[in-house]
């Protein structure tokens, strides 16, 4: 077992409570997140010398313009472009920056706004390939692309809508104890199955609700976290991959499959050691692929894995313990941070909702940037409680 990140720790997990619609700019949500990591850590914002930003709606501003807006003078700045994988990719870069001395404390923030009319334009301008090759067929955004993926996955491996439903239902159960989840009502299987069709085989409860909000955390040396009296997690291992398996007809696997072996080897633990897992759940099928590609079960066997496990906080495989995006809402790029922030909380015994008892190891995986027919980015991190 190596110790690739040495004494680098992750701390001060924060969320800016989500709202369905916001007329504020992205700057507002990111700035509130900065204020919250400062409050959580006791640091002043000009004591933070590294800034990492993940946002879809920040343009034409950038992470650099935010330094002026927020009155910071950092010596390291980074902008994540990996969307749903950005919670992990931001961590990877920030950890190396602090480890190598390019910054002492990095604030990793993700946030987006969601105006009544802005969401459609975000969907229409998602990427040049989406605009050219998907939008002319009736709808902007990712629903059609993921419907095609879900359909092909179900045909290839025999997964049923009820299997996807089990994940959605357990996440909703988890969300009921998480104060910031936008979905506040229990979800039953009959309701899940009877929901209106969006793009077959996807129905309403397979899709996330767009909203506004932000998430964040801090990366620093262990000695600094201790001096500040902050509970923290250590980084055991991480992986990242883009545009994997480019020649697959339909995306039935993610790039996580390319690197999972190395992830476990780096961490020196096995899947059965994981106490709490956070997958990127823009659609349930993507969580299924993450279970498979990260080695919790063989390819195509996530349906059995799901049938055999209890994904609620008190179950034998606590998963998306704050409810995931399916129950919290998807605050743009903050959706890529949701699992990371929740994992840090669970592993430091500071869950806002129900706590997974004695959680020592957590796995966070991300998946992002649907571009025409597949999600291009994926990343994963194994974290260990610092207690």
């Amino acid at each position: 077992m190596s110790d690739p990140y040495g004494d680098i720790v992750v701390t001060a997990p924060i969320s800016v409570p989500y709202v369905r619609f916001s007329h504020e700019r992205s700057n507002y949500w990111l700035g509130r997140a900065l204020g919250k990591v400062c409050k959580a850590s006791g640091l002043k914002h000009n004591e933070i010398d590294g800034l990492s930003i993940s946002s879809f709606t920040l343009g034409p501003d950038s992470a650099v313009s935010l330094t002026q807006h927020f009155g910071m003078t950092p010596r390291w700045v980074s902008q994540e472009v990996t969307g749903g994988a950005s919670g992990v990719t931001a961590l990877r870069k920030a950890a190396r920056a602090v480890q190598m001395g390019d910054a002492d404390i990095v604030a990793c923030l993700a946030g987006d706004t969601n105006s009544q009319d802005g969401f459609e334009s975000l969907l229409d301008n998602f990427s040049s390939d989406m605009s050219a090759a998907v939008l002319p067929y009736g709808a902007g955004g990712p629903n059609v692309s993921f419907a095609l993926i879900t359909k092909a996955y179900m045909e290839a491996y025999g997964a049923k809508r009820e299997d996807f439903g089990k994940l959605a239902l357990s996440q909703r159960k988890n969300a009921l104890s998480y104060p910031h989840a936008l979905m506040k009502k229990p979800l039953g299987i009959d309701q899940y199955m009877a929901a209106r069709e969006i793009s077959s085989p996807l129905h309403l409860f397979d899709c996330v609700m767009p909203c506004a909000g932000a998430e964040g955390y801090l990366v620093m040396h262990e000695i600094k976290a201790k001096a500040l009296g902050l509970p923290y997690v250590k980084i055991k291992a991480t992986i990242e991959r883009h545009n994997a398996y480019a020649h697959d007809d339909v995306q039935l696997r993610t790039g996580l499959a390319m690197d999972a072996k190395g992830l476990w080897a780096q961490a020196g633990i096995a899947p059965e050691n994981i106490d709490v897992m956070q997958t990127y759940d823009d659609y349930p099928v993507i969580s299924f692929m993450q279970f498979e590609d990260l080695g919790f079960c063989a390819k195509g066997e996530a349906k059995e894995f799901v049938r055999q496990h209890d994904f609620t906080i008190t179950g034998n495989f606590p998963h998306n313990t704050s409810g995931g995006q399916l129950s919290c809402g998807q605050a743009g790029a903050a959706g890529g941070f949701l699992g990371m922030v929740e994992a840090i909380r669970q592993l430091t015994g500071t869950a806002l909702g129900k706590q997974v008892k004695g959680a020592k190891y957590g796995l966070v995986s991300g998946f992002g940037i649907i571009n025409y027919d597949k999600g291009l980015s994926c990343a994963a991190a194994i974290l260990e409680s610092g207690q």
């Binding site: 050219a132 419907a147 095609l148 359909k151 969006i198």
Partner: protein, 105 residues
């Protein structure tokens, strides 16, 4: 026949539009005739759209096909076909349609 970009250096066929060939990095791409022969690799029936102009046409039947020539193309379909069906693609301006299906193979 449909018109797609073909790399003049390595003959790789591209879709959606590219500036650079992803196989050999050549920038010498030309729009040329390609056979519409393809295989259906997935499909969906779209029930909602944020676009008003589609509202009276929903649900829309869509298919993702893999051209024998290489690329994958999302297209309008007329009928529901099983995945794996041999189909033909025709071009209609900026969009594509799946036409005559052939399940004999």
């Amino acid at each position: 026949m449909i018109k797609l970009q073909i790399c003049q250096t390595c003959k790789t066929v591209h879709y959606p539009k590219r500036e650079i060939c992803s196989a050999c990095l050549s920038h010498d791409l030309c729009w040329q005739d390609v056979s519409g022969k393809s295989t259906l690799v997935s499909s969906t029936e779209l029930h909602i759209s944020t676009k008003l102009q589609w509202h009276d046409k929903l649900p829309l039947l869509l298919g993702l096909v893999k051209l024998d020539a290489g690329p994958k193309i999302l297209a309008f379909a007329q009928t529901k076909l099983p995945i794996g069906s041999n189909v033909m693609l025709i071009q209609n301006g900026q969009t594509f349609n799946i036409i005559n299906e052939d399940n004999n193979e």
